[in-house]
Amino acid sequence: MSNQKTRGKSTLDYERIVQTEDFKALVKRKQTFSRPYVVFFFAAYFALPLLTGYTKVLEGPAIGAINWTWIYAFSMFVMVWVFTSIYMNKAKHFDKDVDKIIEKNVLK
């Protein structure tokens, strides 16, 4: 519904805004923040089947009868919880930057 209307009413000069230093810096900061986490969690995730499928390193006992395969799987859970918390905290800072950009370029 809104798409059609919005399309005709494109009054903002988006090409200009995305070229502003503020916006470019925001996008860069966001990417520099999230890229290492994304690479890390995908790598950690797909390392599990590679290690269980092609090697025996995770088959040995870790704590009593619990072997390293389970420890690895549990550490994935911890990773998810830690990464979501980090993301949450970081995102609050980005929110402030976004507010500034909107205020400066749109609401002036």
Binding site: T6, Y14, Y37, Y45, T69, A73, M76, V80
Partner: protein
């Protein structure tokens, strides 16, 4: 079943119906119907996401898979939880910022062509149908087990209940049923886990020790490889699990039930904690069922192990706990199918009817009416399909839905947000290629073709070796996006919104025509 079982079972159902009655009085606009008016708070939506996610496949399926296959069953828990990092880091906020009711809205925010919206709607409907079929078949089996009634009557009862929730209560009712169900499901799971631990004298390590001798698999039960002997096949399954969530229409729709990206983000945090804790507890459900119910008994009841959790509840807590768990499982299925009907109906009523045929020129009343009729059509159609699908494996249908979501939707969603050169032809090519490749490969996979007569739909040697084709179909979706974009670059479409605008809105949540 004893009298107390009936009382518990029907109390849970009555509670969900009361919520629907309450919600019906608040549902007037299209936005109320599809997205509860965007009024849910972070924790409410987080609970509802958890509720949507902890479907029959999670609760009944994973518990059964761990009890029968040990660690290989736990791969589901790991994959489905890690999937939330993909959702949170890459998709949740841009999706909320660009979309309105549906996934197609978000893609349509960049590519206005009707064929793009049509392809997105087609994918949504396909995924919803597979997912819904799985839940309905599961619910039918559960009710059949509990009350000893015929499968077809059971499916009709479930189907009618599902339509009542959706038609009268819309998304408000569906969300609140999900929230309450998530609480009950967690409570039930914690009680069972506690009882399992009690049996092992609260010795977590000792429980693992006991599992070495509890099943026919012996020590292999605690290692990877009971089912997934082929590593490429395992990786293929894991691709579908981790990417599929980010393309599931009924999960994506949940990001539109909150007011902004901030709330969408906080709801993911809540759901990640609830889902994570639940998945840790699936170990107790699975191990407990293997040890105290026994593999033979579980398989005798249901070959896929789907009844492991309710049976374990019966062994540990008697009739009362078993019927409580069964009632929660039933409410789970009802709430999930209601959410599925809504996302399917939104694709039909909002995307196809509203945007494609009416160019967005529909009144609020027409919208809600169209959505109700679409819900009835989808509901009736899926009930008819479910009636003929009693023998289909529930886990197979769900994994198929995840695979189609990962192959057909995820490449387009990601590239719409992050790739500047992506264009209309690329989007359509990617969505259709992902869908077709996934469906065709499944049709010639061991899930459908088996040399043992009667084991699957077709008797014969499978042409494609892996039950889950994600390892081929997901790259196919991305490849088609790239090739389509190269082809399309030669003849630009006029309905495309400049990437600068999409990028700005995705990052900041800025919207024109804000009320």
């Amino acid at each position: 079943m004893s009298a107390i079982s009936y009382v518990i079972f029907f109390s849970v159902i009555a509670l969900t119906l009361y919520i629907t009655y309450w919600a019906a009085k608040q549902t007037t606009t299209a936005s109320d119907f599809y997205t509860a008016g965007g009024s849910l708070t972070g924790w409410q939506n987080g609970m509802a996401i958890a509720g949507d996610y902890l479907s029959a496949a999670s609760f009944l399926g994973i518990a059964g898979a761990i009890s029968l296959n040990g660690f290989d069953g736990f791969y589901y828990s790991v994959g489905w939880l890690t999937a939330y990092l993909v959702v949170l880091f890459l998709i949740a906020e841009p999706l909320r910022n660009l979309g309105k009711f549906t996934m197609a809205d978000m893609i349509g925010a960049r590519f206005g062509a009707k064929k793009v919206r049509g392809a997105a709607a087609l994918n949504t409907i396909t995924i919803v149908m597979f997912y819904m079929l799985a839940q309905l078949v599961g619910a039918g089996a559960l009710i059949k087990l509990l009350f000893g009634i015929e499968y077809w009557i059971a499916v009709l009862i479930v189907g009618t209940m599902m339509l009542i929730y959706v038609l009268f209560g819309g998304m408000t009712a569906t969300s609140w049923v999900q929230i309450i169900k998530a609480v009950l499901l967690m409570a039930g799971t914690i009680i069972i886990s506690f009882l399992v631990l009690l049996k092992f004298n609260f010795n977590f390590i000792g429980m693992f020790d006991a599992m070495k001798t509890a099943t026919p698999h012996g020590e292999a039960f605690l290692q990877s490889g009971v089912v997934y002997k082929d590593t490429v096949g395992l990786i293929s399954v894991l691709i579908a699990l981790v990417l599929g969530t980010a393309g599931l229409p009924h999960i994506l729709m949940r990001f539109f039930t909150v007011k902004d990206a901030k709330t969408a983000r906080s709801s993911v945090i809540y759901s990640v904690w609830i889902i994570g804790i639940f998945y840790v507890l699936t170990i107790f459900l699975g191990f407990g069922a293997a040890k105290f119910v026994g593999v033979d008994a579980i398989v005798a009841e249901n070959a896929a192990g789907n009844m492991a959790a309710p049976m374990l509840a019966g062994v540990l807590g008697g009739d009362a706990l078993e019927s409580f768990v069964a009632a929660v499982a039933f409410a789970t299925i009802l709430a999930v199918v209601a959410g599925l009907v809504l996302s399917g109906a939104s694709a039909i009523a909002h995307d196809i009817y509203g945007q494609i045929f009416k160019n967005g020129k529909v009144t609020e009343k027409q919208q809600v009416n169209a959505a109700r009729w679409a819900s009835i059509s989808i509901g009736v159609f899926s009930i008819l399909l479910a009636l003929g699908s009693e023998k289909l494996n529930v886990a197979f249908l769900v994994s198929l839905a995840f695979c189609v979501a990962a192959s057909a939707n995820v490449p387009t969603i990601l590239l719409t947000i992050y790739w500047k050169k992506f264009n209309t032809t690329g989007a359509v090519a990617s969505m259709l290629t992902g869908l077709i490749v996934a469906l065709v490969l499944v049709a010639i996979s061991p899930s459908v073709m088996n040399p043992v007569e009667g084991a699957t739909l077709i008797t014969g040697n499978p042409i494609f070796p892996y039950a889950n084709p994600a390892i081929v179909s997901v790259p196919a979706g991305f490849l088609a996006a790239w090739i389509g974009t190269l082809v399309g670059a030669k003849r630009p479409e006029k309905d495309e919104i400049a990437y600068a605008e999409v990028r700005f809105k995705a990052e900041t949540g800025y919207k024109e025509l804000e009320n």
